[in-house]
Assembly symmetry: C2
Homo-oligomer: 555 residues x 2
């Protein structure tokens, strides 16, 4: 046994390093406050080559003052950063790689930048550690990807660093905690600086965790990503929604759930107060949600369908509405939304009975992906929401209804409903049902160890298309699963594999339900069933509390 | 379309109710501060029959001043509470049900109270909503089990309600967030009240989220649950540890992991600096941990094995050591540990490649449970840590090494290692390998919809006994899985099902490794290999920084 010297400095290198860095920027800061104009010198002084930098940026909120400023840093001083970011959303996120400031990235979603990500990756300008689901990336911030510096955004700060995030709390507390308790340096851009804590509507993050606050040149960017204009909902979306409500929600008594952001799930939200009401389902389904404040859910909320919503983030224009519906949404004593992406993702994982979302491609075993050729878009939250959490131990009628048979040795369990909606064809007559996912080739070409599958087929319990509903959890084997998926594919290349005899057998086995089996008449599927047919209608439903962003206003 | 009145009071009933309750106790509070002596009147005034009450209490830290005081409330005023609690650990937790104050409980773990839980359940005195894994219960606090009142514990508070938790942060931020942003009432018992925020070492929870602080009659209870005395480690534990290190850690290059609290995993921790070092494994395995500050990990930390530890909770006696090892542990600027059970459970779920823990019973399909006849002990964290997170999308060598074969349609993925250690026999010659889990009958007798299985066999990838290691992830079917498990069972009732011919075939298939297959000689398995053989040795290794609790001191 050779005990070492307990005061050996190698045990607190991170703390010493922080002290040294803070000392080096003392001249730029007045207490914790740095002038807007000094942002680039601050970043250049605080950052060291090779640092892991957690930059706040998801599909909604962006610390864009800090990311724009970081892109202006001198690559001679600041280079080879390892960027940890939920979503590569802004051009300068990739400029950082082109100008040598950053070289490696771990992320969850790329969205609008997905084509450029693929290009820079192919060129070798950018290296990808891994693509994650949000919650998985947060997890790694505390275990093996601990950040050296966190760059985040808040609405307001006081001079002691106490932060008020407003409705867009989102990733901020998680990123700050990951850095603050590992002797990392936390820099918060703020829309407004106030003198003291009494001037803040509430405190979302204690000043004790923050090193610098810096007023931004303009308010942080935030995107209305979860706003779906009812005008764009088609009769086909309404048909899909009716099939889902009857064939899944009603049949399995789904009360706790998450929705994706497609027009088909928006149609479901808008059918609850009309079609759902006519079926007598209010209070029986869709009561507790893990969901952003979707404007298309306003009519269902106003009609008394919704008990609670746990939100991942805010939604532009929904602030006054949310504040006035505090029984439904999580709000602070100031009245505004507290969203928390990490907590709501945990809620979506462990506390909901169902995930339902749209997909762009589905293979015959129901593996699905939104990755298409040349675009490395990543995953976001879907893999976490769309999987069966095998650590779950509480029961519900919906969860237990997935339990087929008695199990071996007296052991059985339920299962989460993972529902994929895929029309037979998408825009431009592109088939959604394909023999093999584009993701397989994209993964190979990008040198990824596994294909970037969004949701694995063996996690999918149901698929919905205009042709009907496939109950994949009942499929006896892979062949029956394949038959059930191809039965939904319509007239496309995969659909021609399905025969009438197969479909009849699948219906007898309860693995396939056609619209008529569910009491749904195609001729009834009409936009006229939507509780709101336009953004204006949503404003009316909200009693004027919803303030849609300009781009959604037609008046 | 019938929009309702947007100012209808039914949209903010929770907020109105909170205002009314706060007003009713104004006479008891000086600002946010209530006198110790007024705790029962406070609770009686704040609580209403049927309230959901999140009471802080896990397997370590207890808000015991508040739970003891709640048990003294008048059941005529306070009754039929719905208790939400991580761990039923203290007698008064169950007194609440016997005296009618509470009637329904949702929990995760029972431990020392597990026999009484089973009795009260059978009598109908107590109703169980469900038994959860920790993270799952937290998830529901934000979705469908939102608390009306939170009762929590902190080290210190200032007069504005800012809380300092010290090393035992644990569940407190999660419980407080669940209530504070749903117009719940948050009451914190504190060991010490200080005047202002400058007098707090750091802020763990903003005062903005807290309604009342009340100095406790004595410091909150905290149990040294993760302290294992090396004296109790046997040669058999050492053998199990050697088999695990060679057969699992080394073979799969496991770098990120969680350990359970058994003596066998403690043996692994104490073999790293000796046996592990002799194998040249330092830096190659066991670097990033989701783990409490286990004293038995001190020699490995001191020997440079451990990069980082993300802790669920604190550990009694480890405060000075942790503070002096801030490169390894998460600490605040004050130097003390920040533990966070929710975040570390997420880390254990998504950021680690392996869970390894001991079990009391294993059936031939590797389903396991710590529930035995007459005891309803629950789950704690194990189901969350011991499952394959199907939402995971990042790769590692260990995770990919679980991938057998090419998969269908180009789709494959890795898998988390879930390792169960079970000696052939436990104390009193009780066989650990059984034909059917006691949990099956316990579940039936308690009227549970599914048996309380701790870890499901299909999630288990490896089993370790003195007989060798079973690589269940390689088993072709349930019959081969059964043969591999029974091959580890020794001479007990299950073990006699295993034949020499089966074992030879399993070895050829790579599904079973005997000690000699792994280069482990039984005769080498001796306590002399342990880096520390006593608590005193651990203190020496720590350079005097570890302060073991009295019950672990023999000097």
């Amino acid at each position: 046994m050779i005990p070492t010297n307990p005061t050996d400095p190698r045990w607190h290198t991170r703390r010493d390093r922080k002290k040294e860095r803070l000392a080096s920027v003392g001249h730029l800061a007045n207490g914790l406050v740095v002038d807007t104009a000094d942002v680039v010198p601050l970043l250049e002084a605080v950052l060291r080559p090779g640092d892991r930098v957690a930059l706040e940026g998801n599909n909604q909120k962006q610390a864009d003052f800090l990311s724009r400023s970081l892109a202006q840093a001198d690559p001679g001083r600041v280079h080879d950063l390892h960027l940890l970011i939920s979503s590569i959303s802004r051009p300068e996120h990739l400029d950082l790689f082109e100008n040598g400031i950053a070289s490696l990235v771990d992320f969850a979603f790329a969205g609008a930048q997905s084509t450029r990500v693929a290009t820079l990756l192919a060129e070798g300008t950018l290296k990808v550690g891994a693509i994650h689901t949000y919650l998985e990336l947060y997890a790694r911030l505390f275990v093996d990807l601990i950040p050296d510096v966190a760059l985040v955004a808040a609405e307001k700060a006081d001079r002691n660093g106490n932060l008020y995030t407003g409705a867009n709390t989102e990733d901020t507390p998680t990123i700050v905690e990951a850095a603050a308790f590992r002797s990392g340096i936390v820099i918060a851009q703020v829309n407004e600086l106030v003198d003291s804590v009494e001037d803040l509507p509430r405190v979302d993050i204690p000043g004790s965790w923050v090193d610098f606050v810096i007023p931004a040149d303009r308010p942080f960017q935030v995107e209305p990503l979860f706003t779906r204009d009812p005008r764009k909902i088609t009769d086909v979306h309404v048909l899909l929604a009716m099939l889902a409500i009857r064939g899944v929600y009603e049949r399995h008594e789904v009360t706790t759930l998450n929705h994706g952001i497609g027009y088909d799930t928006a149609a479901i939200e808008l059918l609850l107060p009309t079609y759902g009401e006519s079926l007598g389902l209010r209070g029986k389904i869709a009561r507790n949600w893990a969901l952003n404040p979707h404007p298309t859910l306003i009519p269902a909320i106003e009609s008394g369908w919704v008990d609670t919503i746990a939100s991942f983030g805010g939604e532009v224009g929904m602030d006054r509405y949310v504040a006035a519906r505090s029984d439904v949404f999580a709000t602070g004593h100031d009245g505004s939304l507290r969203s928390n992406r990490m907590i709501s993702q945990v809620g979506g994982l462990y506390a909901t009975d169902m995930f339902i979302g749209s997909t762009l491609q589905l293979d015959p075993l129901a593996n699905s992906s939104t990755v298409t050729a040349g675009r490395l878009s990543g995953f976001g939250g879907a893999p976490n929401l769309g999987n069966d959490p095998r650590g779950r131990r509480h029961s519900s009628p919906a969860w237990l209804s997935m339990n087929e048979g008695e199990g071996q040795l007296g052991i059985h369990r339920g299962r989460k409903l993972v529902v994929q909606i895929a029309e037979t064809y998408g825009a431009g007559a592109t088939p959604h049902y394909v023999e093999s996912l584009d993701a397989v080739d994209v993964g190979k070409n990008a040198g990824m160890p596994i294909a970037p599958v969004m949701i694995y087929g063996d996690d999918v319990t149901h698929v919905v298309s205009e042709e009907g509903v496939a109950y994949l959890y009942k499929a006896r084997d892979l062949e029956e699963r394949r038959q059930a998926v191809t039965a939904l594919a319509g007239s496309g290349p995969v659909g021609t594999q399905s025969t009438p005899a197969q479909r009849d057998q699948l219906r007898r086995d309860g693995v396939l339900a056609l619209p008529q089996d569910l009491g749904v008449r195609r001729s009834d599927a009409s936009r006229s069933l939507l509780a709101a047919k336009s953004i204006e209608d949503l404003v009316t439903w909200s009693g004027g509390l919803y303030d849609p962003p300009a781009k959604f206003r037609s008046w």
